[in-house]
């Protein structure tokens, strides 16, 4: 606070917002850096330091590190490219054109992110599985269509499943940015006879460039650290990524090797994100466009209107309705190979019968699952609040005091959790907070540990969505407020927050949904006292009780969609691109 008083208003004075920046940095350091330093330290002990040479150049190195690294990079780059193209295309259609049913397309394009990637991967399996692993064949092969190995297993299906999952994230980020493109500028350009191409390249693209880069990096990081999809679709052809390798190492108790792989994954992804960050910050001069603007002027698509609509609808249906239908069908079908036959509600509401699923009662008769719903919702809500508050604080700080070493550190640090596979983050949290620290009791097995870990883990999402919007909120208003002597908190609440509320609401929404359907982070933090639905679903799936797993996943889906609807109601502007 004293720093604020000292520089009293004028920009460019030494270290503006120093106290704020230092405070934010300290919080991020404790939440994010400390657990990671702890696992790094754990690889430097005399007993574990050998893990470094084993992973990087020993006889095991090709399989332990280099080949998984190759697959990870292919997935990261491929998914980022796919998501930017697909998400950007849909965002452009929905916000800038007169494509039919824009509202519906816009809503559907945000749905895939609510479907856990392991559910999408399982759905892919139910459809495209060939007889490589014998037995259970997918729906298509069941219809007599031969499915080649490359479409059933390995990189291609993993890539497709991950694009189908993450493109809605890039869509949301890019659409939010496109919605703020000043229509006056476009109209002026049209009046002066600029071509569509020119308007796109000269006005639209520069404005959304930070969002494209941000969305692309999110997709890259998400794909590079995703565990479920490569594990489910890659293992039968022995395709490993760094995330699955890391998980395998921790699973069999070789934590030192696991931590080394985690650290290398962080460093590599960090390099790519640093690269992306340079591109995004190079465009900062375009942030002069104000947050307000008239009703956006739409491009008329003419003859391309219906064909483009068909393309968009196909994408949306394939990534939302199809996996959901497969999920629901497989929560009702006794055999996953015959998805649409002999449906029963046993897996939902049946009582324990010895002949079905080893006597497991339907999920609505299972106290652990019913209790898990309450805990999952509570944790999701608490985390949505904590993450959003922290996310806004970070995004605000970066947008307003974006220069200097501390801001650079905050920016990098707030990105770090994206690069850490959730499972490693969970392991790091147990390593650090699992035992008592001085007078502080151990957090193991408490909701507190879940909230702390999830807050740290999800900060990048809140920061990125908040940032894309806040960057475009003009600094002038805030400047005026500052000149009238308003403190940073006041300015944040009275000026920046209202202008950025769309991004904030979208961010909180994504956080809640991400929390409710997260698996990799909580799978190690899970204890019987904190049963979370996603872990319960995963447990059922790994025990071979697919129907129960899918039924719980449907519950997760309902929660996510309910959250979206409530959020829409509370904040009608949360999806500005849907407005006429």
């Amino acid at each position: 606070m004293t720093g604020e008083v000292l520089h009293s208003g004028r920009r460019g004075y030494a270290a503006p917002g120093l106290a704020l920046k230092a405070g934010i940095l300290a919080v991020l350091a404790i939440l994010i850096l400390a657990p990671l330093l702890k696992i790094a330290a754990d690889t430097l002990l005399p007993a574990t330091i050998g893990a470094w040479s084993e992973v990087v150049w020993g006889r095991l190195a090709p399989n332990l590190f280099w080949r998984p690294l190759g697959n990870t990079l292919i997935l990261g780059v491929g998914v980022a490219a796919g998501c930017v193209i697909l998400g950007g295309f849909l965002a452009w259609l929905v916000t800038m054109t007169d494509v039919p049913l824009r509202r519906g397309i816009g809503l559907m394009a945000t749905l895939p992110f609510m479907i856990p990637s392991f559910a999408t991967a399982l759905a892919w399996g139910s459809l495209f599985r060939n007889d490589r692993v014998g037995g259970q064949i997918g729906f298509l092969q069941g219809l007599g269509l031969p499915v080649p190995d490359w479409l059933s297993w390995g990189l291609t299906p993993t890539l497709i499943v991950l694009v189908a999952h993450y493109y809605s994230l890039t869509f949301a980020v890019i659409a939010a940015a496109l919605a703020t493109v000043n229509s006056d500028l476009i109209e002026a350009a049209q009046l002066t006879g600029a071509s569509r191409k020119r308007i796109f390249a000269g006005i639209v693209l520069p404005v959304v460039m930070p969002a494209i880069v941000a969305g692309g990096s999110l997709a890259f990081a998400g794909a590079a650290s995703n565990f479920a999809a490569p594990a489910l679709l890659g293992l039968p052809v022995r395709m490993q990524t760094l995330a699955t390798r890391l998980y395998g190492m921790i699973e069999i108790g070789q934590t030192a090797r696991g931590y080394v792989i985690a650290i290398l994954l962080i460093l590599i992804s960090g390099f790519f994100l640093w690269l992306g960050n340079r591109v995004a910050t190079g465009r900062r001069s375009y942030a002069t466009i104000t947050g307000k603007g008239g009703r956006p002027k739409r491009f008329t698509l003419g003859r391309a209107r219906w064909p483009l609509f068909a393309v968009a609808m196909t994408v949306c249906v394939l990534t939302t309705i199809v996996p959901v239908v497969v999920l629901i069908a497989s929560s009702l079908a006794p055999s996953s190979s015959a998805l649409f036959s002999n449906w029963t509600t046993h897996y939902w509401a049946g009582l324990s019968t010895p002949s079905i699923a080893q006597g497991q009662a339907g999920i609505l008769h299972n106290p652990a699952i019913v209790g898990g719903i309450g805990i999952t919702v509570s944790v999701g809500l608490i985390v949505a609040v904590t993450v959003t508050v922290l996310g806004i604080a970070v995004a605000y700080t970066l947008a307003r005091y974006g220069s200097g070493a501390i801001s650079g550190a905050i920016h990098q640090l707030s990105f770090v959790p994206l690069l850490v596979p959730g499972i490693a983050f969970g392991a790091a949290y147990i390593a650090l907070f699992g035992a008592p620290i001085g007078p502080l009791p151990a957090l193991y097995g408490t909701i507190g540990l879940l909230v702390l870990a999830a807050t740290a883990y999800l900060v990048p999402f809140a920061v990125q969505t908040g940032r894309a919007v806040i960057q475009q909120v003009s600094g002038e208003l805030e400047e005026s407020a500052r000149l009238t002597g308003a403190g940073w908190l006041r300015r944040l609440i009275a000026v920046t927050a209202p202008l950025a509320v769309r991004g904030i609401a979208a961010g909180a929404l994504i956080v809640f949904v991400k929390m409710v359907r997260d698996l990799s982070l909580v799978v190690l933090l899970f204890t019987p006292t904190t049963p979370l639905l996603s872990v319960l679903a995963y447990r059922y799936a790994s025990e071979g009780f697919d129907q129960f797993a899918h039924a719980i996943t449907v519950v997760i889906l309902v929660l996510s969609i309910a959250a979206t609807l409530i959020a829409n109601k509370l904040q009608a502007k949360s999806q500005p691109w849907l407005k006429a």
């Binding site: 490589r132 014998g134 395998g248 699973e251 006292t529």
Partner: protein, 373 residues
């Protein structure tokens, strides 16, 4: 500050109390345990098998007023969790029902996280090896299984080395040994039994085995050749079961899985059958053990639950053992008769693992598997 002191003194009192109490409890009869257990009201079980959900209602019917909370998690996960809980100073589990004995002995028992309790009632009906270092409830398996619908005249494989030939290229399936400890134990057993593996190689191919460069024995060579023959790895035993057992296949794969999963044939539409007459062996048989968590919160109820899981005095073990009285699981108790549908234990060819020998080279075998993947 005050509360910290208070907590510390409670902890010390509890520790001191347990030391005396545990010894007394170990000798108590069930009736005496029940009295104390009714005060405790609940008992939490960590179980590596989902069949705990069948034990729960049976236990609660036998001992009304005591709530059994079963938590189904893999052995590897239990080990991680119990270690974390110990570090955090929390004792959540009362009873630990687990496999992966090579790791359990070194990481849990020897580090004082769990302790052995042999219910006095059944102590005289167990061989010494099943009472120490840990109480074994039954023997479980990871053995070669085939599809009996596709091969009605018996197992299509007579020698493990056939799995490395072109006929079975891409047609052998199992769980990734780096994900499930029991499959790593299976790989380790091949290496420990290298002499037998070498003899079987000669039987199969009519010439002594020639080892690749850097390969030390026939067991390692078998693992190498198996992987080279496009071995299919999946994530869970049920994936193996479905792949191998699913009915209506003309050329189904063959795979390593649990013999006892044959019990699901009817419910799942499988035709799983064990390949027993295989040279030199069809896989491994290993103990599933039950232990008490050190400083368990419900020590009396925990002991009652262990006693219950060991089965009642009938020759099939009654309600407590019923979920495990299936073909393919072998009771350790001498007085529980072998399941009528199963190959009798004496005729079963699987190798009995030696947890200590396994523990010694397990990591090296894991590294070999890692190199091959």
């Amino acid at each position: 500050m005050k509360s910290r002191l208070l907590m510390a003194s409670i902890a010390i009192a509890a520790l001191a109390g347990h030391g005396v109490l545990a010894q007394d409890l170990d000798k108590m009869t069930n009736a005496e345990l029940l009295k104390a257990a009714q005060q405790e009201k609940t008992v939490t079980v960590y179980s590596f098998t989902s069949r705990i959900s069948k034990v729960e209602p049976a236990f609660e019917a036998a001992y009304p007023g005591i709530d059994l909370i079963g938590n189904d998690m893999s052995s590897a996960e239990q080990i991680t969790r119990l270690q974390a809980e110990t570090k955090a100073g929390i004792v959540n589990a009362d009873v630990v029902y687990i496999a992966d004995v090579p790791v359990v002995v070194t990481e849990l028992l020897e580090k004082g996280i769990i302790e052995t309790y042999v219910p006095p009632r059944v102590a005289d009906r167990l061989a010494p090896e099943f009472k120490s270092p840990l109480l074994a409830q039954r023997l479980s398996t990871k053995v070669l299984m085939y599809n009996e619908e596709a091969y009605p005249s018996g197992a299509p494989v007579k020698n493990l080395w056939e799995l490395t030939t072109d006929a079975w290229k891409g047609k052998v399936i199992m769980v990734d040994p780096l994900q499930r400890g029991d499959y790593l134990d299976l790989m380790t057993e091949f290496v420990l039994r290298s002499k037998e593996m070498a003899a079987s190689y000669e039987k199969q191919f009519g010439k002594p085995i020639a080892l690749d460069e850097g390969i030390e024995n026939a067991g390692q060579q078998f693992i190498v050749n198996l992987f080279k023959n496009d071995l299919v790895l999946v994530g869970s035993t049920d994936d193996v079961n479905a792949a191998v057992g699913k009915k209506g296949q003309s050329t189904p794969p063959i795979g390593f899985t649990s013999y006892s999963d044959r019990r699901d044939n009817e419910d799942e539409g499988w035709a799983l059958q064990v390949a027993n007459a295989v040279e030199p062996s069809n896989g491994i048989i290993f103990p599933a053990v039950i232990a008490i968590a050190k400083n368990a919160q419900h020590p009396a109820a925990a002991r009652l639950a262990v006693d219950f899981l060991m089965g009642d005095d009938s020759n099939t073990g009654g309600a407590g053992y019923a979920p495990f009285y299936v073909a393919g699981d072998y009771a350790t108790r001498t007085d529980i008769v072998s399941h009528p549908d199963a190959v009798p234990l004496a005729d079963f060819k699987a190798w009995r693992i030696d947890p200590q020998a396994t523990a010694k080279i397990r990591q090296d075998v894991g590294d070999l598997v890692l190199q091959l993947q």
